[in-house]
């Protein structure tokens, strides 16, 4: 039997290690899962953006993507199911100096948390929301979600999904988001650039990231682990500024990716200060305790 030789006793450090709670690794994500890649793009973007990371907070809800808050070495909050955005709203209003990143899944943000999403977008609450969309509820074993394609199989739609999925960028735009983009986890450079841009942008920014769940979604829908990635590669159509109403995901005709919306309008806090706290604008006050 051949001996396996260890070339180096010490693993080389990953360039993003300083942003990871390495004492919490290994993570819970399954082999073939795309969340880690999205998470890594997010960390790279946090570095790239140049924002003050000491003043940056990651907030997650519940689910596989919701575990991201537990691995990032920043102030991070793993809240209740669907409630990352209102929790983050409280953080931001109490200390407007904080940069807020909400990192969570499609089920968390758009089914149980859908109401909070549309209202935070309407208010133009200054935060960056990254939604890992794996088309199903992964953590609980693959149930139908508000994003599951029509007729796709899940444990709760065994003969196919009778419902129509949301067009997430359209919902974000219609609700008032000032930055809306969609990428897949395969488009890591575009994704990282997009998250960087969103982090630096004032107002409610939303990025949908398509990501495979081979264990719970692929397996029930005749997709081998690499099939979804091939779809991402072959069916992606990058079309910046595409009409949000034409962004329904269609794995046969094509998946439109890109930056769709990038506009400016005052944030909730800007309006609130102007109407209710004009003295703060003059004095440039930050936190509520100062």
């Amino acid at each position: 039997m051949q001996e396996i030789s260890v070339t180096s006793k010490k693993q080389p450090r990953h360039p993003l290690d300083d942003l990871i709670r390495t004492d919490r690794i290994p993570h819970i994500w399954c082999p073939g899962c795309g969340i880690g890649t999205v998470f890594s793009s997010c960390l790279a973007a946090l570095k790239e953006s140049g924002i003050d990371l000491k003043k940056t907070v990651m907030v997650s809800g519940i689910g596989c993507s919701g575990r991201a808050a537990g691995y990032v070495k920043l102030d991070s909050f793993h809240t209740t199911h669907g409630r990352a955005i209102p929790f983050a709203t409280g953080l931001k209003l109490a200390n407007p100096e904080l940069n807020i990143v909400v990192f969570s899944g499609d089920g968390d943000l758009f089914a149980i948390g859908g109401n909070h999403f549309i209202h935070a977008a309407r208010r133009n609450m200054d935060m960056t929301v990254i939604c890992v969309n794996n088309l199903n509820y992964g953590m609980t074993g693959g149930q139908v979600a508000a994003t599951t394609p029509y007729m796709a199989k899940s444990t709760t739609t065994p003969a196919g999904n009778p419902e129509t999925p949301f067009n997430l960028p359209l919902m974000a735009y219609a609700s008032g988001a000032t930055y809306v983009a969609r990428w897949t986890m395969l488009h890591t450079r575009d994704l990282t650039d997009s998250i960087t841009e969103a982090l630096c942008k004032k107002g409610f920014s939303f990025i949908e990231v398509l990501s495979p769940c081979p264990v719970n979604y692929g397996r029930r829908n005749k997709q081998k682990p690499l099939d979804m990635l091939k779809l991402y590669q072959e069916k992606a159509i990058i079309k910046n500024h595409a009409d949000p109403s034409k962004l329904d995901i269609d794995f046969e005709k094509g998946i439109i990716l890109g930056k769709f919306i990038d506009l400016d309008r005052p944030t909730f806090i800007e309006h609130y200060d102007k109407i209710y706290r004009p003295s703060r604008l003059q004095e440039n006050v930050s936190g509520l305790n100062s």
Partner: protein
């Protein structure tokens, strides 16, 4: 327009408004709310008053979001509150649990109305008392207090903030529509006479700090987001570092932390009041607006030669068990007076342990209990 947080002076004020003023005097600078009768006036007062003291008010999309925002704001280092009534209180329960699990100071006011469901929106009740104790899932300790007048709600709101900051948990003010909408004289003292408590802040190296390692009184110091501690806060069972640990041992340790900090400080937390209790043979146990009914009934009963006295519960949870036990050894019986069909009554029964007879003067909700009903019970039962 800047105005003082403490509006020193004499006023004719409703309980709801006095509650808001008490919160501002306690240092509350964030309110996340949702309109609901009969608690809306608290939100309305906070909406106009908070910006005057550099604070922030937001009306959220529902009570679930309101409670979540209150927790988020508290973790940004700001004293925070919300106010609601029964249906909204039900919606807040999950995030109240997150507040308990993550040891997050904040104050939740429930201006109770008749239930269940939509019930009697404009009429008072005291029927959420057990929901206050056990409404969120899992086993935990909670602090709930019940004011009996607008003046008292002013002071007890300050007390609620102080207890929440000291023991790091949501503190519930269980008032009712009658106190909330009643106008009475309220005296707001000078700011320097108001004692406020703020959460203990950590000292020492930030990289070694553990956000759930208890201090001498069982409570951990609490930094805010953005102070460089790289906090991780989760509603999963977690260790002293705040990291999720899915073991029986971690669960046992965490549960000990969140329950013992209350159980070992009962003397500091529990407040009761009494009226003619020293020589009483029959003790009325009551709280909130029903304690006022009970006080009138005691006075009337004494005129009739019945040696009645009142034990008024200011703190409902944790329940003043020892006081009931001691009384059970020396009195002839108890009467519980509350606007429900016997919630705190069961606690009194439990603590009296069958030593003496116990009667309930309850009401399904919608109105005050008349003192005559209590006097009648005192005459007939003993």
């Amino acid at each position: 327009m800047m105005k003082p947080a403490v509006l020193t002076g004499e006023y004719f004020m409703t309980g709801d408004v006095a509650c808001a003023e008490g919160a501002l005097a306690a240092g509350c600078r964030f309110f996340g709310g949702y309109p609901i009768t009969p608690a809306t006036e608290i939100a309305e007062r906070m909406a106009s008053r908070l910006p005057q003291v550099e604070g922030c008010f937001i009306q959220m999309e529902d009570e679930i979001g309101a409670m979540a925002a209150v927790l988020g704001s508290s973790w940004a280092g700001v004293k925070s509150m919300t106010a609601t009534s029964g249906p909204g209180f039900s919606l807040m329960m999950e995030n109240i649990g997150l507040g308990i699990c993550t040891e997050t100071p904040c104050v939740v006011v429930n201006v109770q109305r008749g239930g269940p469901s939509t019930g009697l929106p404009t009429q008072g009740a005291q029927s959420d008392m057990m929901q206050a104790r056990w409404g969120s899932h899992g086993h935990y300790e909670i602090i709930a207090i019940a004011p009996s007048s607008p003046q008292e709600i002013f002071y007890l709101t300050i007390t609620a903030f102080n207890l929440s900051e000291k023991y790091r948990l949501p503190v519930l003010i269980m008032t009712d529509e009658i106190i909330g909408h009643m106008s009475e004289k309220v005296i707001i003292p000078e700011a320097k006479l108001i004692k406020t408590v703020s959460r203990p802040k950590p000292k020492g190296r930030k990289d070694r700090f553990k956000p759930f390692a208890p201090g001498p009184n069982g409570v951990a110091p609490m930094p805010a987001a953005g102070e460089g501690y790289n906090l991780h806060i989760t509603g999963l069972t977690h260790d002293e570092k705040g990291y999720p640990v899915m073991t029986v041992e971690a669960q046992t340790e965490m549960m000990a932390r969140i329950t013992e900090k209350i159980q070992k400080n009962l003397d500091d937390i529990i407040r009761t009041d009494s009226y003619l209790l020293d020589d009483a043979e029959i003790v009325i146990v009551s709280y909130g607006v029903s304690a006022r009914t009970s006080m009138a009934a005691v006075a009337e009963a004494r005129k009739l030669g019945i040696k009645a006295g009142l034990l008024r519960l200011v703190t409902i949870w944790p329940f003043p068990e020892d006081q009931i036990r001691e009384l059970a050894d020396r009195v002839k019986g108890f009467v519980t007076v509350e606007i429900n069909l016997g919630q705190i009554h069961r606690e009194v029964e439990r603590c009296a342990g069958g030593k003496v007879p116990i009667f309930l003067v309850g009401h399904p909700g919608g109105t005050l209990i008349h003192p005559d009903k209590v006097v009648k019970m005192l005459k007939e039962a003993f």
